[in-house]
């Protein structure tokens, strides 16, 4: 139903800039997830879209109309808060109807909308209860129901699952995914710091860091082709291993020698002038495999974490401050202080320039 467009949007509190020059186009029916470390500005950006924070610079358009100075209620948005923000003195029904009552909608219309949303979220038996008589998951559904009743163009979710326990979080996440399927036309923006939520729910993920957008793209694209070291390390668990090295061969494929020994040929193109320049080579833990041939790295095992499904090896290498982590499938009988040689499929290697930008996007 709605197209949302941010142009050069910025936010400053006095001299402190928390967001700068955010450009983002969101299409109708998308579920966009904002992720990033705490303090990156993702919640602020969401609150600016909601109209709860003033936009200091740039423009926000919804359906082609500038929204900078429009009060929240008239932007066609609905928001689900982290703490649910249910009105404690009103029943579930009154909570859900509050917005429409404020807008002085006819009673029949309000009742129909509330009943429909309640049915969709299986809340019908609880309509006359107060929020305090509901479980955490039910409260969360009421908060979502309250948003649905408003029939907004854009749904905004501010870390809606972070107050739930682990099991409930998985269940509710699936419910939100199903909800989105039932309302393919509605646009949703979802803020979280949990990358599992981001990867499973999003049509596109927006990675924010330090007030800037680092990368925008579908979840697997971010995983497979991170635009820079920050995204590479932020998406995926454990974080991607990064090694310092130098380019020793250019062309359609690039040869890299690592500073601490070992090397690889990476199937990305490079030019003559890259010869000899410092680079960062990234490889995900799950892409490292024991090898007897040419090793990418070699190191002494310091910690073995057997999880059954996988085995995590923490390798210590001379001259590297951070341990290298390898994630091997299944159970392995590798003992402490053993030296292992690991290699990787060249196609799974990520090459970044000295500023941390991926060679893919050059």
């Amino acid at each position: 139903m709605a197209e949302l467009k941010l142009t050069k949007v910025g936010k400053a509190y006095g001299p402190v800039e928390v967001l700068r020059d955010i450009d983002l186009d969101i299409d109708t029916g998308e579920l966009i997830v904002f992720v990033g470390p705490s303090g990156c500005g993702k919640s602020t950006l969401l609150r600016m879209i909601a109209g709860l924070e003033r936009i200091t610079s740039g423009t926000l358009e919804i359906d082609g109309k500038a929204m900078n100075d429009v009060p929240p209620a008239q932007r066609g948005i609905a928001m689900v808060f982290q703490s649910y923000a249910l009105y404690p003195h009103m029943t579930v029904r009154d909570n859900m109807a509050f917005g429409m009552k404020i807008a002085k909608k006819p009673k029949a219309e309000i009742d129909a909308a509330v009943d429909k949303a309640a049915k969709m979220l299986q809340l019908t038996p609880y309509l006359d209860r107060l929020p305090k008589a509901l479980s955490g998951g039910q409260r969360q559904r009421v908060a979502i129901g309250r948003a649905i009743v408003r029939d907004p163009k854009v749904f905004l979710f501010d870390e809606p699952l972070s107050n739930l326990d682990a099991a409930l979080r998985v269940a509710t996440r699936i419910e939100i995914a199903q909800l989105k399927e039932r309302m393919p036309e509605s646009t949703m923006i979802y803020v979280t710091h949990d990358q599992v939520e981001a990867m499973t729910l999003a049509t596109r993920i927006v990675v924010l860091n330090g007030g800037n957008i680092e990368q925008v793209g579908p979840p697997l694209e971010l995983y497979e082709r991170p635009a820079n070291v920050f995204v590479a390390r932020f998406i995926g668990s454990p974080s991607m291993n990064i090694f310092e090295g130098r380019i020793t061969g250019t062309g359609a494929q690039t040869r890299v020698e690592l500073d601490q020994g070992g090397g690889a040929v990476v199937p990305v193109a490079s030019g003559e002038r890259d010869m000899g320049s410092s680079v960062k080579l990234g490889v995900r833990s799950e892409d490292l495999v024991p090898t007897t041939g040419e090793a990418l790295i070699e190191g002494r095992v310091e910690i073995v974490e057997g999880l059954g499904e996988t085995t995590l090896l923490h390798l210590e290498r001379v001259g590297e401050a951070e341990p290298t982590i390898a994630k091997l499938p299944g159970i392995h009988s590798i003992s402490r202080h053993e030296t292992v040689r690991l290699g990787a499929d060249p196609a799974k290697l990520h090459l970044f320039d000295v500023k941390g930008r991926s060679f893919h996007y050059r």
Partner: protein, 383 residues
């Protein structure tokens, strides 16, 4: 703490005993007042209230029936009757001369001047006999010491309520208290909401001012306000001392605490609820009326109790801003007046005092929960 092993039972006893002592010291004074207010006024004056149940000894004088009612029996003229009349009592001694009021024990026979004999029994029945027919209208005086049974009565209350003006003052106090409690709540609630949730320049300064005004002594305000009331009254051609004047004065003096308490409470409400209402399209006014006010009920209740107690118990403001005529004298003022004019009449003072404190006590007992919560909010934070 309850479950710690090996606690010294002596310490436990000591704790119980000191708690009991404290409770006794803190309740006995009020109890004394209450018991005294229910006692017969003659008994209050001669015995301590703690003896109320054991009765009291009184030295009394009664006259026998008139001599011409005497009847002749077996050649002697006899007068019979009971010293206590309709009431009950126990005679512990009697006599017929003022110099020796307790010369005889009950049951003994006393010889009077002129050959008469007098016998008084324990229950107060007396027999006065003489050989000649007695004459005259006045009976013989009998002095006796009586053990009066404990006597409880509501007469004191009847007296103060209807004859001493306490009833009227009770109504005056209500007239002062109700508006003085409600008006500041309304005004303060709006101000507290603005101070908690609406950004505006000078907010921090205003808040600091409110905190400062919390402790400004009333005495500072009395003279300037009295002058102002006099000139406003003169200008409008109305008396300076009116109910409207005292309502507004109590409103002004109660506002700092009201704003402070309510603001602290409202600032503690979750921000997201207010934002959610804003997203739902509610204006500031609607947010205040539909979300903040209902959620602030505990704070509103505790301030209301504070203000009610404070206004009801106030003497100073009432003395300055209300007259001391029948239509305006409040309970505290009346009690002070009685303390001056009826200083020795404990039956009046105790009953009056009890009438003045009964309403606050009831409010206090029933609503203590809210009051404690308000005290904690107001004090632990620094007020």
């Amino acid at each position: 703490m309850e479950g710690i092993a090996g606690r010294n039972p002596l310490v436990t006893w000591l704790v119980h005993i000191s708690a009991a002592l404290l409770v006794i010291i803190w309740t006995v004074p009020t109890m004394g007042l209450f018991i005294s207010s229910l006692r017969d006024k003659d008994q209050i004056a001669v015995s301590g209230w703690w003896t109320a149940l054991s009765g009291s000894e009184q030295n009394l004088v009664e006259r026998t029936a008139a001599p011409d009612e005497a009847v002749e029996r077996d050649g002697t003229w006899v007068l019979e009757g009971n010293l206590f009349g309709e009431n009950e009592g126990t005679v512990s001694a009697f006599g017929w001369r003022a110099q020796e009021p307790a010369a005889f024990q009950p049951g003994e026979t006393a010889e009077l001047r002129g050959g008469e004999t007098l016998t008084v029994e324990k229950d107060g029945t007396y027999i006065l006999s003489s050989v000649e027919q007695p004459e005259g209208k006045r009976g013989q005086r009998i002095f006796f010491t009586s053990l009066q049974p404990p006597k409880f009565t509501l007469d004191n209350y009847r007296n103060v309520l209807f004859s001493q003006g306490i009833g009227r003052s009770f109504i005056n106090s209500l007239t002062v208290t109700i508006p003085s409690t409600v008006i500041p709540i309304l005004i303060a609630a709006f101000a507290a909401y603005a101070l908690a949730w609406m950004p505006f320049p000078g907010r921090a300064l205003l808040l600091a001012t409110v905190v400062g005004l919390l402790v400004v002594p009333l005495q500072m305000s009395l003279i300037p306000l009295l002058q102002m009331y006099n000139s406003v009254g003169g200008f409008l051609g109305v008396p300076a001392k009116t109910y409207a004047g005292i309502w507004l004065a109590h409103t002004g003096f109660g506002l700092p605490l009201a704003i402070y308490l309510l603001r602290n409470y409202m600032a503690g409400l979750p921000r997201e609820i207010i934002e959610s209402a804003r997203v739902d399209g509610a204006s500031d006014f609607e947010i205040f009326v539909k979300i903040i006010l209902p959620l602030s009920f505990p704070a509103l209740a505790s301030f209301a109790i504070f203000q009610f107690l404070w206004v009801w118990n106030d003497l100073l403001i009432a003395m300055v801003f209300l007259g001391n005529n029948e239509e305006q004298l409040v309970l505290t003022g009346r009690l002070r007046e009685l303390l001056g004019s009826r200083g020795g009449n404990w039956e009046i003072l105790t009953a009056s005092a009890f009438v003045t404190i009964i309403i606050p006590l009831l409010v206090f007992i029933t609503l203590q929960r809210y009051l404690v919560r308000g005290l904690l909010a107001g004090s632990v934070k620094g007020g």
